[in-house]
C-alpha cells in the first residue's frame, strides 16, 4: 500500500506541467522569430557532436532560401559532404546522406534540433514570467511538445530554447557573443548526445 502511494505520488509529480512554477501573464508577443535569424543569408559554423563517447567535428553550412526555408550541408574538415538537408515550412527533406548517417534515429534528432533553431514566425500561445526570463510558449508544427523561448528581459535575445512535454526533451543554450549568431549548445535530456555550433567569421 505504501509503495503504491509512493509510486502514485511519483507519477503525479512527473505528470506536473513543465510550466507549473511559471507565472502566466498577458501576451505581449503574438508571432516570434529568434533575432539571429533576421538578416540571415548564408553562414558557416563549426559543428561538434559528442555522442555516446564519440566525438565528431566538421563544418555546417546554412543558407536561407526563403522565410522558413533553409538548406544545410554537413561537411567534414577535408571537404567531404556527409549530409545535405532542407527545412521547408517545418518539413524536413533529406537530399543526401552518407550511409553511416542515413539512420532514422540521427535524422529525427537533427530534425528536432534544427526545427528548434531555425523556425521563424512562430505563433505564441502563452507568455510567462519567472524571476529571470520572459518565457514564450509556442507550438512548432512537426514537433510533438511545446517549445519555450527563454528571453533576456532587457535585451529580449533568446538565452535558451527548450522543447518540453512534462520533462525537458531538448535544450539549446546560447552563449552571449558579438557574432550575428550566438554560440549554441544542444543537449538531449538524459541522452548522452551534445551538439555545439560556433559561427565561423571568415566564411
Amino acid at each position: 500500500m505504501k509503495s503504491l502511494l509512493l509510486s502514485s505520488l511519483i507519477l503525479i509529480s512527473s505528470c506536473a506541467s513543465y510550466t507549473k512554477s511559471f507565472k502566466e501573464k498577458e501576451r505581449t508577443v503574438e508571432i516570434y522569430s529568434p533575432g539571429y535569424l533576421k538578416n540571415f543569408k548564408e553562414k558557416s559554423f563549426k559543428i561538434s557532436i559528442d555522442a555516446f563517447g564519440n566525438h565528431f567535428g566538421g563544418i555546417l553550412v546554412a543558407k536561407k532560401l526563403d522565410n522558413n526555408h533553409y538548406r544545410f550541408a554537413l561537411i567534414n574538415e577535408f571537404g567531404g559532404k556527409l549530409m545535405d538537408f532542407e527545412l521547408k515550412n517545418n518539413e524536413f527533406q533529406l537530399n543526401y546522406a552518407i550511409e553511416q548517417l542515413n539512420r532514422k534515429i540521427i535524422i529525427n534528432l537533427l530534425k528536432k534540433d534544427f526545427l528548434l533553431l531555425f523556425s521563424e514566425q512562430n505563433r505564441i500561445d502563452h507568455e510567462f514570467d519567472n524571476q529571470s526570463f520572459i518565457i514564450l510558449e509556442s507550438s512548432i508544427p512537426n514537433l510533438k511538445q511545446p517549445v519555450y523561448y527563454y528571453l533576456n528581459p532587457e535585451t529580449e535575445k533568446p538565452e535558451s530554447i527548450i522543447l518540453a512535454g512534462k520533462k525537458e526533451k531538448v535544450k539549446i543554450t546560447f552563449t552571449e557573443s558579438s557574432n550575428s549568431v550566438p554560440d549554441a549548445e544542444v543537449t538531449h535530456g538524459k541522452l548522452p548526445i551534445k551538439i555545439y555550433l560556433h559561427l565561423l567569421e571568415n566564411n
Binding site: S44, K46, H55, I59, V61, G79, G80, L200, N203
Partner: protein
Amino acid sequence: MKNLTLKYNFIFILILNGFWVNAQLSPAEVKTLKQNINSATADLTSLQSDFTQTKHLDFMENDVKSSGKLYFKSKSKIRWEYSSPFSYYVIFNNEKMFVNDNGQKKETELSSSKLLKDLNKIMLGTVQGSTVLDESKFKIAYWRSGSDYLAKMTPTDKTYKKYIQQIELTFDGKTYLLKKIKTIEPSLDYTLIEFRNQKKNITVADEKFAFK
C-alpha cells in the same frame, strides 16, 4: 572576304591553341610522366607545404575556404594541419592516427579501421604522387595542362563511385609534385586543394609529429 579568312584563321588558331593547352598524352608520354613522378617522390625525405582548400556547394553563393600546412617526413610521418577557419590537425605516425580538434584530442590505432587506413593512404598519396595513381580502383586519363600535367581519375570501384565522380590531380611540370587535387562528387559539388610554397627535403622537426 579577307576579313572572313582572318576570322577563320583566328578561330583555327584558338582551337589549335586549346588542343595544345589541354592535350591528352600519348602512351609514351604517360610512361615518361609516371617515371618523372616516381623519381620525384623516390628521393623525397621531407616536404613542407602551405595549402588552401575550397569547398564548392552548388546551393551556396560563397565557397567554404580553409587553409593550413602540410608536413611530411619519410617514410610515413604526416601532419595535415588547418589553421583557418579553426585549428584542427591530424597526424599519422607509427601506425596510429592522432586528431587535435581545437584542443580536443584523440588517438586511434590504424589497424582498428579500414577507413582510417584508406585515409592514411590518401594523405600519403598527396605527398607521394605515384601511390595516388591507383589504376586498380580508377580509370586514369593523362593530359597536358599548360606547363603542368593533369590526371583525371574516374572510379571503377563500387564504393568509391558512391562518393566520387572524378578526381583531378595536377602535377607541377617542373617538380612533378602534386600541386592541386580536385575531388568532384556525383552531385558535382567539389573540393579543391591547392598546394603552395612546396619545400622539398628541408629539415622538418620530429616535434611536428608528436601526439600533443
